[in-house]
Amino acid sequence: MSRSWRAVLRRGSGLPAPVWGLATTAALATAGCLADPYTLSTWTRILSLGLLALSVAVLAGTAGLPSLGQVAPYAVGAYTTAILARHGITAGPVQLAAAAAAAAVFCLPIGIAVSRTRGITFLMATLAVGELTAVAAGQWTTVTGGTDGLAGIPATQPWWGTAPILEDQAVYGYAVAVAVAVTAVLWWTLRTPAGLLLQGCRDDETRMRASGHPVARYLVAAYVGAGAIAGIGGALLVTGQRYVSPGDVGFEVSALVLLAVTIGGGRSLGGALAAVALVALVRDWAAATVPGRGPLLLGALFIAAVYVHPKGMVGLGRRRRQHPPVEVEVPSS
């Protein structure tokens, strides 16, 4: 049983990425026709978190910058969308473009500041950015509705002049279309020379600098781009649940998404999406069968992931070192 499963995996992993992308899109589309409203609303939320995960994966995996603060541009995108909708601007393309642009503009100065740091320092600097954004969302009552959040947000129109989407199936379809488009564009971008330059910064920054590359500028660009993706994710969150509060953009979400990306292997976009889906399903769906035990299940999932799926972690963890800090073979005499 498990051997044949592995064999399928081995064969499957040989397929080119676009094939997998198309297959996943087809599976999502089919599910949209068959599944019940609750399942679809759950998956709409997962797709929004998926874009947030992609934004973390680009930074952590491709650029080598693990972020605990991508909820900040996610929040900017979400609140931008919510405020536009409450002012009668409900056209989807406008909301998405505004969310992405606002998040990108927000990320530019912050990116210049935090891209000077690496590793754990980057992690903690972005944590501070995320926390400060969540505090601001709770404090700026007149704009954000404060800690209670903004409710009663009008539904999004998928295109100018079309009817607002209210049914779960339509909202889900919109989310799938946006998420697939963003993922495809991102995947393509990472294969261009721009993506390779980012990988170069991650893999050997000293050499990149030595050969004259403005590494800092590349990293700021990556931070801004990742921010725009998170902003679109925020827009999808608001379209999906038509409510937003500081709790949606807090530390818990940051931590879950970064850990999901870690489980997914860090480098792989598909891995990040699959792992965030798994984490969100455990939190929202599996935990519903044992109310109050959600954190316990999530904790068990994280622990299990470390031992059961060790290769997933390798992408972010194992680095070539000359002096590994702990893992040293003690010479026999």
């Binding site: 000077r116 992690l123 600097a125 000293t206 931590a255 870690t262 994280f302 470390v306 972690m313 702990v326």
Partner: protein, 293 residues
């Protein structure tokens, strides 16, 4: 009258800021130790504190004996927790900080649920001996006696820790491991043993801090998160693993949170993380050196 009055208005917040800062340092010390000496970012740190705090709430009933008993139980429970954590971390060694974060965050979630199952959802407080549950006069102001005792014990712990680290053989090994684990291994000391020892001692310290800190930050469902977040800020501002830096950071954050309340009340919610962001961005960083560490 004017200047004297103004001085008095800021005196108590400043004293309180120092005292509260030392309290924060004690909270963060085990996390700093484990990160500095073991290279482990232990996100289950708050759970070890909570373990000690629950021990205090259950055992300490107002007598000195019960307080001593609680301290012993909390220290032991923390040490056991730290030991278990080091065993769990062994297969993950060398896989980087995110793998450690994943494991220790998972442990923290499970431990949080287990503690509530064992002790219920209420926020608890231990009963302290009457001699400590009083106030003393400091420059004409009332101050909780317990906090002063806590500061004295914290100072003693810090001094003791420094002595062990700087003067003893075990301390020398520890410093050797921080500087060059490879060389330490060549000299015949297994770095894994040192890591296990560091996590156990760090756990014991966290448990003891939980017992002593319980009257101020008591056990409850939110305790682990509060303590972890405060400790993380101290450790990060102090320079990731530097004990001296953590002391300075703790006193600084103590001032930010007490004097800041008086000077900039509207900015209070932002102060903690703004201080952290500023400290990280202002500090000069060595350029990453690629594969040539």
């Amino acid at each position: 009258m004017g200047p004297l009055n103004a001085l008095d208005a800021y005196l108590i917040p400043v004293i309180d800021g120092v005292a509260y800062g030392l309290l924060l340092f004690t909270l963060a010390a085990p996390l700093t130790l484990v990160f500095g000496a073991g290279g482990v970012l232990n996100l289950a740190h708050g759970s070890l504190y909570a373990l000690g705090a629950y021990a205090a709430a259950l055992i300490s009933d107002g007598s000195w004996t019960s307080l001593a008993l609680a301290a012993a139980a909390g220290t032991f429970a923390g040490a056991a927790g730290g030991g278990l954590l080091s065993a769990a971390l062994m297969p993950v060694t060398g896989r980087g900080h995110l793998a450690q974060a994943l494991l220790t965050f998972g442990v923290a979630l499970v431990a949080g649920a287990a503690l509530v199952l064992a002790f219920g959802p209420d926020n608890l407080r231990p009963t302290v001996p009457a001699g400590l549950d009083t106030t003393v006069s400091l420059a004409g102001h009332r101050y909780p006696a317990y906090r002063l005792a806590f500061i004295a014990i914290a100072a003693a712990l810090a001094a003791g820790g420094w002595l062990v680290l700087a003067r003893s053989r075990a301390g020398a090994r520890l410093r050797a491991m921080v500087d060059d684990p490879h060389m330490l291994a060549c000299l015949g000391t297994n770095p894994r043993t040192v890591l296990a020892a560091v996590l156990t001692v760090g756990g014991a310290l966290a448990g003891l801090t939980g017992v002593l800190g319980a009257p101020i930050i008591g056990p409850g469902p939110g305790t682990a998160d509060t303590v972890l977040l405060l400790s993380l800020v101290i450790v990060v501002v102090g320079g990731l693993g530097s004990v001296g830096g953590a002391v300075a950071a703790a006193v600084g954050v103590g001032q930010v949170q007490s004097l800041g309340v008086v000077l900039a009340p509207t900015w209070t919610p932002y102060l903690l993380f703004a201080a952290m962001a500023l400290a990280l961005l202002v500090r000069r960083q060595p350029l990453p050196t690629g594969g040539h560490a």
